[in-house]
């Protein structure tokens, strides 16, 4: 279908420390015992997109991610890894691989997206409107506050302030305004001429940009070339395109038109005009076309381009892993309500459970984990080859691989990374324990982030 897929996998994310470290870059952060990148790649594979470019920040991370992909998706996907320097932003990353992009349209997916939004639908919307950019919008996950129940109180305070302000046309097809959380101040400026052209704009703050974009390649490359300062797709490129959709700079709409004209034959020049006119008259003109017309004649004087929005239905799952809270939410959802995202079984093949140990619903136990007697596991994910002693209580938590938990520990709402050792009677509440950390016996922590000191 002439689409090229770029997965922006990221590298070391600051917002996710101490979960993310040199050894575990963000794409490989396990979510329900699968690296988060797995979800995106799996989704792509499901939609029959098998040629991918995965962009990773940092060379070490690139090596790790490449090794993992080659091990997991061998013979299923045709993946190429590109490692780009860190801190050049998403736009910079695309700039770095720009000359590998050849297809007509580019689908850009963030590597930390856990969703079941149909990629095909986004692409189809993009194609149908012949848009320059199509952004996928999904409902802001309400689950963070409402369903997490016991640990809910805290989330509510964290959530607000991150909302996007998104303006849509009345038919919810076109993107008229987009402002991401960072730039929202007290006032938001809307463009008057845009409002004039559209007539009516719907402003919503309950939508989230899912970081899944379809771009027209020529335009994307053009913008990246011309605007050196653009750092991020979300904060610079997309808003720029949306802003300039009615006064598109000549190059932007000039290129696609030239391509189309190139296809047509010169033998009947007059007739081509008529053909295109018939086709144009056949469809209901969008405000772009109406605006581009002169009020008196039909000559197209103003260049426009279309920015579309694909709004995922509220039933589909779509969350980005960009904070620790999101990490917890995704872990819970993937094992719980959104378990269709995972293709394999929830409980691994051979966890060894002691007597009177109960594992509640929405739990996941990796293979080779052992648990002692009288343990309780509720709404938690436990990785592979963990050894858990007796009388341990794990609630609403994520325990990664190779973790040793001593007897009598209580872990609530926490993330315990790989190779951590919890000695006896440790009490953790809302903590994050970095990889390889050793928590001494009997200590109690609440709401802290524990990590080994960097050497």
């Amino acid at each position: 279908m002439d689409f090229q897929v770029v997965v922006l996998a990221g590298g070391n994310s600051k917002s996710l420390t101490p979960l993310v470290s040199k050894d575990v870059p963000k794409p490989l952060l396990p979510v329900a015992n699968h690296p988060v990148l797995y979800y995106v790649l799996h989704q792509l594979e499901e939609s029959n997109l098998k040629d991918l470019i995965v962009v990773v920040e940092g060379e070490d991370a690139g090596l790790l991610v490449g090794a993992w992909i080659s091990g997991t998706f061998v013979d299923r996907l045709h993946v190429e890894i590109a490692a780009v320097p860190e801190d050049i932003g998403t736009a910079g990353a695309l700039r770095a691989i720009s000359h590998y992009l050849t297809a007509k349209d580019i689908l850009i997916v963030s590597g930390d997206l856990v969703s079941d939004v149909s990629l095909g639908a986004v692409a189809a919307t993009h194609r149908r409107h012949d848009a320059v950019v199509t952004a996928t919008l999904c409902c802001v996950p309400i689950c963070g506050s409402s369903e997490s129940g016991s640990s809910g109180g805290k989330d509510k305070t964290k959530k607000p302030g991150r909302y996007n302000i998104i303006g849509l046309d009345p038919r919810k097809q076109f993107l008229l305004h987009i402002a991401t959380g960072a730039e929202i101040e007290k006032d938001t400026r809307l463009q008057e001429h845009l409002l004039h052209a559209v007539g009516q704009m719907e402003i919503r703050s309950d939508l989230m940009d899912a970081h899944m974009y379809a771009f027209k390649r020529s335009v994307l490359q053009e913008v990246l070339d011309r605007k050196d300062t653009f750092q991020s797709l979300k904060q610079d490129v997309v808003p720029y395109l949306v802003r300039s959709q009615l006064k598109s700079e000549a190059v932007l709409s000039g290129i696609p038109q030239a391509e189309e004209d190139g296809n047509e034959k010169v033998s009947f020049p007059n007739n081509q005009v008529m053909v295109s006119q018939i086709l144009a008259n056949a469809s209901t003109p969008s405000f772009h076309e109406l605006y581009s017309m002169d009020p008196d004649g039909s000559a197209q004087t103003r260049k426009t381009h279309k920015c579309c929005a694909y709004i995922a239905s509220s039933s589909s799952y779509c969350v980005r892993l960009n904070s620790i809270q999101a990490f917890m939410d995704i872990n819970r959802d993937v094992t719980g309500e959104a378990d269709h995202l995972l293709s394999d079984t929830v409980i691994g093949p051979s966890p060894k459970l002691g007597t009177k140990t109960t594992v509640g619903p929405h739990c996941m136990l990796g293979e080779g984990s052992e648990m002692g007697d009288k343990c309780q596991v509720k709404r938690s994910v436990i990785g592979r080859h963990c050894r858990i002693g007796s009388h341990v209580k794990v609630v609403n938590s994520v325990v990664m691989n190779h973790v040793t938990i001593g007897d009598g520990c209580i872990i609530q709402g926490s993330v315990v990374c790989s190779n951590v050792q919890l000695q006896e009677r440790v009490v953790l509440k809302d903590c994050q324990v970095g990889a390889g950390f050793v928590v001494t016996a009997g200590s109690e922590y609440k709401g802290e982030s524990l990590a080994r000191k960097e050497k």
């Binding site: 090596l63 490449g66 013979d75 190139g262």
Partner: protein
Amino acid sequence: MDPRRTARTVSDPKVRQVGFFTPAPPERSISDPPRFQDPIQPPSPSPTQVNDHSPSGNSLSPVMIPPAHHHSDNFLRTALQATSPPKAFSYSAKTVTIPPENEDVASSFSPGRKVVSAKSPSSFPGVKASSVPASELTTVSVVNLPPGISEKAGGASVEVQNDRPVSAKTLKEKTSKAERRALQEAQRAAKAAAKGTCCLCYSDSGVSVGYGYVPSMVYLVYFTFVLNNFVPVDHYVFLAEGTKASSAASMVVTSANTKPSKAAKPSSQKNDGSQVAASEKKGGDRAPEKDRKKDAPHPRMQYDDKSRVEKAKKRAVVKQTEARNRVELFRHLPQYEHGTQLPDLETKFFELNPMHPAVYKVGLQYLSGDIRGGNARCIAMFQAFKEAIKDYSTPPEKTLIRDLTARISSYVSFLIECRPLSISMGNAIKFLKNRIAKLPLALSESEAKSTLMLDIDRFINEKIILSEKVIVKHAVTKIRDGDVLLTYGASSVVEMILLHAHELGKHFRVVVVDSRPKLEGQLLLRRLVRKGLSCTYTHVNAVSCIMQDVTRVFLGASSVLSNGTVYSRVGTACVAMVAHAFRVPVLVCCEAYKFHERVQLDSICFNELGNPDAISKVQGREEINYLDGLVNQENLQLLNLIYDATPSDYVSMVITDYGMIPPTSVPVIVREYRRDHLWS
């Protein structure tokens, strides 16, 4: 009007009395006394009436059908202003340049691209995964699928060690050699199965078809196979994986495939197949057989036939839920829950491998209503086909003619699922298939492709664009200063006529009559007003009031059938009837490629059903919700018809590219000219 109706029922009780039909009227010249009791009724609606209105001494007699060659030359010279070759109506014209191959293709993924990692599909698949060291993009995982990006060389390199095990069979069985063999085995078995069923089906047609290798049979089998391939491909694979032993596999697949091949048969393939088989046997009269095949009536599913609908569903690309509450009279037409089709089709965007993106896009646009109008749909379809042909390459061991025909058929069936074809599109498809079938076998692939693309361009240019120009030229002679012209809906030809007349400096007024729910007239109105025409806009409800001022009615048509019936946007019949009652001449403008030899008496047996929500809700006004909650009631049936049929009685004249003719002369055009030009 009443006496007429009673008279009709008496005269022929079998005629269904729906629509605007007078009973098969005696003779036009014999006046029917009860008919003219109504004082408004005109004494005799003869086509010459129109001619009386035009004092401009028009050289073309409206009734006369001009001789072919002489006239086409004339039209072209005058209408085209020498922009096109002089003998454009005949396909043997040699002045048209063959379009050069497009270079843009290089920027897209083309299947035949080199992959540096030295993996051709035929090499032993799935065993080694290569890393390409000297490239910035590092291939870490390779599938057998050919199109790769790895060919590009880069500067600085990041190497990822590929120390993964050599055999990776467990991940995807599909690619191992044994499996592929099993798949081939399965396909062969499927062919055998289809062949078997064919033998059964056609043995009674008098043609003895052996079980052995008959080329035509292979064609037939392939045809059905391709059509069936849409959905069940995975199915084959699965079956093949399940049973390794070839004999067992073939048995299973045979039984599994008998059904789909049967399911495909209610369509025209039954005809095609038997005829091709027969022609192969007879040898001599091959060409006429082929013609007949192309002329076979377009398959029309009767959607109240449950078993067939079930079967059709199995091979459908678009999953669509059928609407439940359908009007009894129209049960035989397809109607789907609106809104179920689009999302489903969209999610499959990347999964429909055989579908060309351009065709897919057009299908989406049909489905969402982004393209409408007979000409526009036809042009869009042909342009998509042109793209598809440009990217087409004949698979090994297949001939272009047969494979491409099958490919086009699959595209067409996809488009039908998106929206039923219009008659004009059906004609255009017939034309294209005919051109493909008539390709000389000696032609190379690129030559054949360019010939076809040229043919498509020609069709668009000559049958649509030129026709419109000629029609405009004719129709403008019927517009005089001070006229009040009425049009209904938004016809592209009528729009061109009005604009052209305006350019010529004629002073006239336009009444645009529109109707819910599409309100296409508003778009037309917008364009007319912008050009400075003085317009009146009204809805069809008011047509009887506004008709008093009107001096001419110009209507577009989706098709003109050979009994003179005009098949057009719903409401046209109503406008034409009112105009007839007011003795206003009704001029129908229709390109000759839209003519069809079918005879249709009412608008029931063949029509299209639109989205019922469109009439139950008023767009943009949520407060009008009187029907909320009623829509799913058992005893409420919503009917949103798209087309209706105007009987020829109400049509004074049909303006077409061969001149202005009375509707009774349509069959002449269909017979004489379509054969000569369209199917030659």
